[in-house]
């Protein structure tokens, strides 16, 4: 398996109300293509901060970040945006769908982002393929208010997959869903790994975490392996 991500000694300190607070204190992490990884941890343990560093939303204070062997620790914002578009897909706890746009238009948002240009026909084909992949192609013309929570999250997953990213980052994607719908969403995310996509899932849900190939625990700014697991 190809090594997609390699984090070494990553630290991050955030401004606290009284004093700076170290959130990540030397995190090491490796993710391979086709691998799924769950990160567990208490609220405020730094899971989302770690995910935002991996997703190039922010920069670490120290340490090294290799993406496909390339050092991107100190990437300028313009190049980071291009990499986010090309390499990463994001799924958030809240679905962040635009109410005035249809499901298809919401998915197409990731294609109309100023990073290259696809003609309308190709764009539509890619969008429909992504919606098909998560099983809601028939809802392409529906607007978010007419969709259930699970359907909305699957639209968000389709938006994350439409550019065929190498890495999928999911920040508590089932947090707003019931157990059954959450399972469907996890299944949709896992299916992406079958095509070689690496998946990092941040979650509180132990059951969902157990469905990942590996489960790590973030505690006191350190990422501790919780043992290899066999996917369910």
């Amino acid at each position: 398996m190809t090594e997609l991500i390699q984090l070494t000694g990553i630290t991050k300190t955030l401004k606290g109300q009284t004093a700076p607070r170290t959130i990540l204190d030397g995190v090491d992490l490796t993710l391979h293509s086709g691998e799924s990884l769950a990160i567990l941890g208490r609220s405020g343990s730094g899971k989302s901060t770690l995910l935002s560093l991996i997703g190039l939303f922010d920069r670490p204070d120290s340490g090294q970040y290799l993406l496909g062997g390339r050092d991107i620790t100190r990437l300028p914002e313009r190049k980071a945006a291009a990499l986010r578009s090309a390499e990463f897909g994001f799924v958030f706890q809240r679905f962040f769908l635009l109410k005035h746009m249809t499901a298809a238009q919401n998915v197409a948002m990731a294609l109309v982002n100023g990073q290259g240009w696809l003609p309308r026909r190709k764009r539509r084909a890619r969008v429909m393929a992504a919606l098909e992949q998560v099983g809601i192609a028939h809802l392409a013309k529906h607007r978010p208010p007419r969709l259930s929570g699970g359907e909305q999250q699957r639209v968000a997953i389709a938006r994350a997959l439409v550019r065929e990213p190498r890495i999928l980052l999911a920040d508590e994607p089932t947090g707003a869903l019931d157990t059954e719908t959450g399972n469907l969403v996890i299944t949709a995310l896992q299916s992406a790994t079958e095509r070689g996509c690496g998946l990092i899932l941040v979650t509180h849900d132990r059951d969902h975490a157990d469905r990942m190939g590996r489960v790590l625990q973030l505690s006191s700014g350190l990422l501790a392996p919780a043992g290899e697991r066999v996917p369910a």
């Binding site: 935002s52 939303f57 313009r78 990499l83 986010r84 962040f96 746009m101 100023g114 290259g116 550019r163």
Partner: protein, 437 residues
């Protein structure tokens, strides 16, 4: 280049989606901007129309821009030389103006001195002036004033050719002078509107008296034109007038009235020939003045100040519109923080986020400009329909393209100014907003 094109298209698409999603807000922004853009359009259109009207009137009385105008001093030899040189030419026309009275002989005309009929007064042909320039219409001692009678005094302009190529008279009724046919013993006259008004109002005999004429001819009125002259005037072929008047009398040396020669800009050969022949006849070269008419530039300079003052006022109204766009833009960006953060998360560069906001405000400005221009065109059409009959300068008005351009530029500038700060804010929205939500 491709990247830029992609970003440009993306900004337009997303901006268009934003406008469609917030139709009421866009409409309210347009309302606040509309008056400002309309003010710019109206000022620019008004200035252009005023300039055109001033130019059109000046063309009627002075001549088209570019026409070369030469003044030939009133000497006995200048008239025959000028007439001879210009005979049969179409690119140069000589004209001279004298006074004529049409009507009963030996009477004081209804409008002494060719005064407008509704505004009596002015210099009369019967006036006498002393060495200090003080004039009186009392007859010289020993003479009696002529009794009032049915006669009309007018300015009579004799021409060697069709002067309309230089002074584009507006046609009224009847026909214009035919310079190709043989001269008639009964001089054919074309009246201006004021003279036609006089002849319509008063019944006068068809006998024309011209100072210095051997006899009084019977004129034929063949048409009416608008020459922009408020005084009664008539136009006649010089050769028809010369049947009754010696050539030397066409120029009045005592009154200082000479010939005016109007030439096409490219008629330099005529000018050189005429100048050479006049100099050869004894006219000093320094007495021959020729200069092109350049009134457009003069009028533009005179109107520019007025235009800028009004544009300044329109600009202030436009600023209110800009403030409206700014206000709505800031509120909208505040509401769309999550959307912009999400767009950054999926790889949209900051510059494109700013571009999206600017695209929305610029499109709003353009749509407003289109509405303001449409309103301007419609208003001008209505003015033309309802007021054009009473006011000749308001008939056949066309919407000036410069006003359209000014409206579009005003809309774009307003969109740019109003969208600038919201665009900066949109570009600075932290990407981590989506993680904290």
């Amino acid at each position: 280049m491709i990247g830029l094109s992609g970003r440009f298209r993306s900004a337009l698409i997303i901006g268009g989606q934003g406008i469609r999603a917030r139709k009421l807000r866009t409409f309210l922004s347009m309302v606040s901007l509309f008056l400002g853009v309309l003010a710019v359009v109206v000022v620019q259109a008004g200035a252009e129309i005023a300039e055109r009207a001033v130019l059109a009137n000046t063309e009627l009385t002075e001549g088209r821009d570019g026409t070369v105008k030469m003044y030939v001093p009133p000497k006995p030899q200048t008239v025959p030389v000028t007439l001879e040189t210009l005979r049969g030419r179409t690119d140069a026309v000589a004209s001279t103006t004298t006074m004529a009275i049409i009507g009963e002989p030996g009477v004081t005309p209804i409008n002494p001195g060719a005064a407008p009929f509704d505004q009596p007064g002015g210099y009369t042909s019967g006036m006498t002036c002393d060495q200090y320039g003080n004039c009186t219409d009392e007859p010289p001692e020993g003479q009696e004033a002529a009794p009032s009678g049915q006669a009309i005094e007018l300015q009579l302009t004799a021409m060697t050719g069709d002067i309309r190529q230089f002074r584009p008279f507006r046609p009224g009724s009847g026909k214009w002078l035919d310079f190709a046919s043989a001269p008639s013993l009964s001089p054919r006259l074309v009246l201006n509107l004021e003279a036609a008004k006089g002849f319509g109002r008063y019944r006068v005999p068809a006998e024309m008296r011209i100072t210095g004429a051997d006899a009084n001819p019977t004129p034929r009125i063949i048409g009416v034109i608008d020459d922009g002259n408020p005084q009664p005037a008539a136009y006649v072929r010089s050769d028809e007038l010369l049947n009754w008047l010696p050539a030397t009398k066409l120029a009045d040396e005592q009154a200082g009235i000479g010939l005016t020669v109007m030439m096409a800009p490219d008629a330099t050969a005529v000018e050189q020939t005429l100048r050479a022949r006049l100099v050869a006849s004894g006219i000093p070269p320094k007495d021959l003045h020729a200069e092109p008419i350049n009134f457009r530039k003069e009028a533009a300079t005179e109107l520019a100040l007025m235009r800028w003052i009004f544009l300044g006022m329109a600009g202030l109204v436009l600023l209110i519109g800009v403030a409206g766009i700014l206000n709505v833009g800031l509120a909208t960006v505040g509401e769309r923080i999550e959307e912009f953060a999400l767009r950054r998360a999926v790889g949209t560069p900051r510059s494109l986020l700013a571009g999206i906001v600017l695209a929305e405000t610029l499109l709003t400005g353009l749509i407003t400009a289109a509405a303001a221009i449409g309103t301007g065109v419609a208003a001008l059409k209505l003015v033309t329909i309802f007021m054009g009959d009473g006011e000749p300068s308001l008939s056949n008005l066309e919407f000036p393209w410069q006003a359209g351009v000014a409206g579009v530029v005003a809309g774009l500038i307003a969109g740019l100014l109003g969208g600038f700060v919201p665009a900066l804010r949109a570009a600075r929205i932290p990407i981590a907003t989506v993680m904290r939500a």
